[in-house]
Amino acid sequence: MSSTNWNLEPSLESTAVVQIKAQYELFINGQWQAPLSKTYFDSVNPADESHLAKIAWAQAQDIDLAVQAARSAYENVWSKLSGAERGKYLFRIARLMQEKSRELAVLETLDGGKPIKESRDVDVPLACNHFFYYAGWADKLQEAFAGREVAALGLAAQITPWNFPLLMLAWKIAPALACGNTVVLKPAETTSLTALKFAEICQEAGLPAGVVNIVTGYGDSGAALVAHPDVNKIAFTGSTAVGKQIQKACIGTDKKLTLELGGKSANIILEDAPIDQAVEGVINAIFFNQGHVCCAGSRLYVQESIATRVIEKLKFRLQSIYVGNPLDKNTDIGAINSKKQLETIERYISLGVEEGAEMYQPSCHLPAKGYYCPPTLFTDVAQSARIAQEEIFGPVLTIQTFRTIDEVLQKANNSPYGLAAGVWTDKGARIFGLSSQLQAGVVWANTYNKFDPASPFGGYKESGFGREGGLHGLSAYLKFIN
């Protein structure tokens, strides 16, 4: 009997729930303020290259106004509130975010290109959970650090990346406010819309003016924020190159700094692993959010005895990955965030071929407009190949084999990065053995890309320092008086 063609029809999420304004101003001191220079930039939907909105481009004078507003709110309002009162605002924000979760999810997908099912099921619920979690800590800071006396730092400057715009905002703003700081946040230029929506939520929650300020713009806006002398704390998530610039800019100041940077995380499958679930884990580790994940499991290490089977299964699995319109509820891999990023990924794919690795991409029909990249596997990759060493930040997986556990441990740690790692094995002892020796901030065992507000996240080596999430995330926004 011949096989049946059974193709899923497009199932598009409605965009009626969002109203995108033609133009967005800066959110300073609880109000929308036009940038003094009157300059704006365009925000583009990467799924079809359509224009979404004009966004204010903050310059140094605008940043100064935002910092002044945040300082004044800190001195006059926020630092005078009890932890319980701050907690109430955070709970209110969390509930409002939940109420608007559909709107936030659609907006995140339109602006950034990620599949609606991820923004709906991962980004937005997790962002809400971060606010709920840190709201609960706001009146328990003394209990959080027993025997220590803690105080807010003051004014936190926060710069977020384009891969998880709302979620990274939540990771940063929730603990900062819970600890009693006020905030100036600059979202990435390609994904400002959910941060601006968040500003509306702050207004709706009645958050005192100036406690949260959102300044949009490019890298120059971020640099002006980092350089501002009245900033007490800088939190940055983004590339290692920019992280290094920020660290340099902070030399000789008493600004407290946390950096969450790039990664080239190793995902290790041992021969006794539950192979089918490991294959699924690999898919999740590298293709989640188009591979735009700092902790993406982009280096796969498979024990040689099972490598053929694992690669065969991976290739088959790629056939049922849907690449396309991010608003389609069946889409697994959406649009690459920007043209620039797509060019970077394509450059690395060509480089991989030049380096002699064998490339595999499933046949898939990509939309004619927009920025798309099929899921890509490279086998026969050398440890010394650049595609195995450098962060690609796209749906590209390098696969290497290994013979012994010592060998894979050395190879996994042989990287300037150290953000995350995955270990797949049926033996508990091997999990403990490897996870204690892998130089990575997070080691997942028989799973990957699991996040929870109670769990700290951060890197080793050039993946950054400081932790976000959990109790550790609180201490990044506090000073310890004794």
């Binding site: 096989s3 049946t4 899923l8 199932s11 539950p274 089918d276 679930q277 049922s320 028989n446 799973t447």
Partner: protein, 307 residues
Amino acid sequence: MQPNTSLTDFSVLLNSVAPVDQIGSLERIAKIQTRSLKGPAKLQGLRMALSMIDLTTLEGKDTPGKVRQMCYKAQHLHDQADGLPTVAAVCVFPTMVGVAKAALAHTAIKVAAVSTAFPAGQAPFEVKKLDTLHAVEHGADEIDMVISRGRFLAGDYNFVFDEIAAIKELCGSARLKVIFETGELDSLDQVKRVSTLAIAAGADFIKTSTGKIQPAATFPVVLTMLTAIKDHYDKTGQMIGMKPAGGISSAKIALQHLLLVKEVLGEAWLNNEWYRFGASSLANDLLMQYQKQLTGKYQSASYFSID
């Protein structure tokens, strides 16, 4: 398929079976369950599911009259609607095979008989053989045997293998479905092992449950069995059929199962030669959803015949 007689100790084979992680399996299933099925693709799925049903009656009180009624329904699912397929087969006790064959003469609908002292399988081997022979001699097209779960759980894999291989021989041209009763097998690792064993022993189809024990055809169990079928196919190029049975009573769940098949095995399995649902109440929910898709309205259950 023919039994793989080159194997003498099946513990060697079974020790090479990769372990199964329950949580990872559930995550894989959750991904399938968020797939959105709409429009013509949903209609196609509903029709496909109807055509894969083994319409079943397996009760102590079964009579020729009941079986004949069911055989009529098997051919005429809902004559008020156009374009409906028939079900794939009816599934009855061996004593009812003759009745069903007569009722379904001149149709393409198969007659399947449960066998080997269904559902518990607790009878001497000679009795199981007679049970099977009776069904085959009366014209059964398919034999749904149960395995000796007690022997399997006791680690007596050779016994279970031999039993399946012996029944397969008696089947002649009838296709053999091997029922594991996964609700009695404890873990997904066991499900993977028993699937591998039954396929090696000559099963044409592997089947989750008798329908008499809960849990029955749960998603993780079905996924594990599909994976065993895929592994065998990758190794040998030989297709094995799959039949979840028990607990699949809604169209929504049935369609999710078909999506699982599409992604785990591929579209070659999406027909009633390689995939079946063992169910009695599923058909009417599929019919109701089918009518809903066509007319935009849900109709009362009273408009769909129960037998």
